[in-house]
């Protein structure tokens, strides 16, 4: 018996989920906000702390994503994300139109060789390599956002559905990965009803190319509710569920999930060192893109992300496999054990975000009252931003969170292994990562 709370059982919630208007208004607002952010970055103050683009993208929205959307809603941001919307509206031939009727676009299938989360992991590596400059330059942030918006639009006109979101968006990559641990899922209620329904309207409607009946993992479902809206039998459930439900001995995982999970962990460690550490030379090296120091930094970062961490993980997976009774190929083991990286990475990023963003929260209101940094006072606030500090509370919170992450990943490791011995290498790996994060954040 699985523990699930079906939100569609409540008539008011069901009506809300079905409503295209509620979702549309949220999306229209995020789209306008996105465009405003791009403009603010391009023409507003070059001083990052006084520009809406920097503060809202890298502090406000990033914190909301890591501390609210993902841990409490899985891939929920994707349902209101503005980036694919222009393209999707064109594909559907309208804003409130369901998919599949009129529309613009070539609708090509995404090439098989480019599927998976490989490119999303690569995109996140790029964010890490160029992050010190991007996060502190309003213009560059704006250019990156504009580029993503245009890219998503172009891809929507060439390829079917949300190809950008599925295969390219770096945010989508890890949001999907961690959504497996999230407390929300969309599943069918009664499979027999689906068996009797030949038309599969849900699949036609789904912008993510998912088939709800076959949906076993929340990684690729963007919670857009289209299937819910078109199902003639009201057979789609939106369940609240315990954390970590897509992780377990019987769940399927792929090699690219392992790669993405490792890239995310490496990025958490390196970003903690660069942004939160006391090493000014490291920060300057990460910032001065193109300088010899930067090449050294990039080299070390890539060695950690593509060599050290994958090497340690592979050794752990290989050892775990050899400590068990059955034998699987290395590739299968790497894919299978990648689930351990999910709670580990999710918690590591939450802990990082607490240090990174909480200290700068004082900038959020001033930048709402003066988004372009031109001396406006829209909501009548005093303009001085208070600079936060890490308090003993936030430090203890981070320690507690990291321990929850270690507990959780150890549990996953144990659940998917035959014996404690077999789980030990991956538990050791998790402990190593946790220790490293602990030292970087609190040491």
């Amino acid at each position: 018996m699985t523990t699930r709370l079906d939100l569609t059982r409540s008539p008011r919630t069901l009506a809300l989920l079905r409503s295209r208007w509620a979702q549309f208004l949220l999306r229209a607002i995020t789209l306008a906000g996105f465009i405003f952010t791009i403009l603010a970055g391009l023409i507003g103050s070059v001083v990052g702390s006084h520009n809406f683009a920097i503060i809202f993208v890298w502090i406000a929205w990033w914190t909301a994503l890591k501390l609210a959307f993902i841990p409490f809603g899985g891939r929920s941001w994707c349902s209101i994300c503005p980036i694919p919307m222009p393209g999707e509206w064109l594909q559907n031939g309208g804003i409130l139109q369901p998919r599949g009727r009129a529309g613009i676009g070539l609708g090509k299938r995404w090439p098989k060789s480019l599927r998976g989360t490989w490119m999303q992991a690569g995109g996140f590596l790029l964010i890490g390599l160029f992050g010190a400059l991007t996060l502190t330059s309003a213009k560059i942030t704006a250019i990156v956002l504009l580029f993503i918006l245009v890219l998503a639009l172009v891809l929507s006109l060439v390829f079917e559905r949300r190809s950008f979101c599925n295969y390219l968006c770096p945010i989508g990559g890890f949001t999907g990965l961690y959504a497996q641990a999230g407390p929300v899922e969309l599943r069918v209620k009664d499979a027999d009803i689906c068996a009797a329904h030949s038309e599969k309207t849900c699949y036609t409607a789904c912008p993510w190319g998912q088939y709800p009946l076959a949906l076993k993992s929340s990684a690729n479902c963007g919670l857009c509710m289209e299937c819910l809206r078109v199902c003639p039998s009201d057979n789609i459930a939106v369940n609240l569920r315990p954390w970590g439900s897509d992780l377990g001995p019987k769940t399927k995982h792929r090699l690219d999930e392992a790669f993405l999970g490792l890239v995310m962990l490496a990025s958490a460690l390196v970003d903690s060192a660069v942004f939160l550490g006391p090493w000014g030379q490291l920060k300057s090296a990460a910032y001065n893109i193109g300088s010899p120091d930067w090449f050294l930094f990039a080299g070390v970062f890539l060695v950690i992300a593509l060599g050290v961490l994958p090497g340690l993980y592979t050794a752990s997976a290989w050892l775990a496999d050899h400590l068990g009774s059955a034998r699987a190929s290395l590739r299968k083991s790497l894919a299978y054990y990648s689930q351990v990286l999910v709670p580990l990475g999710l918690i590591a990023w939450i802990a990082f975000t607490i240090s990174f963003a909480i200290v700068k929260f004082g900038y959020v209101l001033p930048v709402v009252t003066d988004p372009l940094g031109w001396g406006w006072n829209l909501i009548g606030l005093s303009k001085s931003a208070w600079v936060g500090e890490t308090t003993s509370f936030s430090l203890i919170l981070q320690v507690a969170l990291l321990m929850v992450g270690l507990f959780w990943s150890s549990r996953v490791a144990r659940r998917i292994s035959d014996t404690i011995r077999q789980a030990a290498p991956l538990i050791a790996f998790s402990a190593f990562i946790t220790l490293a994060m602990l030292w970087l954040l609190v040491g």
Binding site: I35, F36, L39, I43, S45, V47, S49, G94, I95, P371
Partner: protein, 329 residues
């Protein structure tokens, strides 16, 4: 469908608002034109965003100042320190300037913003009716043909700290020239001591007595007010290079070789060590005034002629001598 149409209008409206509000306000603020928006940046990043401001006599210039990188300051050359304005990154500060006399004024950065801080100047050209700015007198070194690049190492210095109080005892015995303003300006303390030493009427005074006299002469030219102004100006403008103690070891000159007169003109060197009494006691106020006004000819010492008024320069000079006197052990 009507709803579809409504949805489209909502999107168009919101997106247009997102575009029009920032672009519109940007356009409007440029069209207004009564205020001049000036961005301060480190010289490496472009310096002042406006090099030259044109203005008319009596017309108020409304400046809206902001910094794009680090803390800067703004002041008009030769103005009082009270009028200096600090500019913080991302923050705006407004100031209004009015010039009563036509001429060329200099504005400059008053808070150290990197090794090229002293290059951060701009001009304000004021045209119109009226008497031109009363100009400063010709610098003393030009009036009296003093070679301010010549070495000024004092051979004789006091063996212990001279006291102006003790020197005052002999004030009524001094020849007229000794207490003349002209003498003070054109003679170094060491040279004045030599002159007094060769006076027959003062032959009964000890060497130390005469140093006390010289100290007394120097101190009476400088009130405590000019002293404190001198300290403030030195700390704000000079200590980053000259060192807080005047030793020539300021943070901005690390990595530069120590000054050596034989190497003059062959590259940037450290400022001299003012805590070595031989250095300043051999320099006359006119020489120091010349160095400050003109700058160092390749040594990195900026030209302060358009930045500091004569009074400000002499208050700094009085502080420099204090450093010299107080470094005698």
């Amino acid at each position: 469908m009507r709803k579809e149409g409504l949805a489209r209008w909502i999107v168009i409206f919101l997106v247009l608002a997102a575009i029009v509000v920032p672009l519109g306000s940007w356009w409007l603020s440029r069209a207004q034109g009564t205020q001049i928006e000036m961005h301060a940046r480190m010289p490496e990043n472009g310096g002042w965003s406006i090099d030259t401001i044109q203005a008319k006599v009596g017309q108020p210039i409304q400046l809206r100042l902001t910094s794009d990188d680090v803390v800067h300051g703004f002041a008009i050359g030769k103005s009082d320190m009270e009028s200096w304005v600090s500019i913080f990154p991302g923050e705006y500060v407004e100031t209004t300037l009015i010039f009563e006399h036509p001429g060329k004024y200099t504005f400059y950065c008053t808070r150290w913003c990197g090794p090229n801080h002293w290059r951060m100047h701009g001009d304000i050209i004021v045209t119109g009716e009226g008497d031109p700015i009363p100009s400063d007198p010709l610098p003393l070194f030009l009036q009296y043909n003093i070679d301010i690049d010549a070495p000024h190492y004092a051979e004789n210095i006091p063996g212990s700290p001279p006291s102006a109080e003790r020197g005052a005892r002999f004030s009524n015995r001094l020849p007229d020239y000794a207490i003349d303003m002209q003498t003070y300006l054109l003679t170094s303390p060491a040279d004045l001591w030599l002159k007094l030493r060769s006076e027959p009427s003062l032959s009964d005074l000890s060497d130390m007595d005469l140093w006390d006299v010289v100290r007394w002469i120097w101190d009476r030219q400088n009130s405590s007010r000019t002293q404190s102004l001198g300290v403030k100006l030195f700390m704000a403008l000079a200590s980053a290079a000259h060192g807080e103690s005047g030793r020539g070891d300021g943070v901005m000159v690390r990595g530069l070789p120590v000054m050596d007169h034989s190497r003059m003109g062959s590259g940037l060197v450290r400022p001299p060590d003012f805590t070595d009494p031989h250095v300043l006691l051999g320099a006359s106020p006119a020489l120091l005034e010349g160095k400050i006004i003109r700058g160092g000819m390749g040594t990195g010492m900026p030209s302060w002629g358009s930045i500091l008024s004569r009074d400000q320069i002499h208050s700094i000079i009085s502080y420099l001598y204090t450093i010299a006197w107080e470094s005698i052990k």
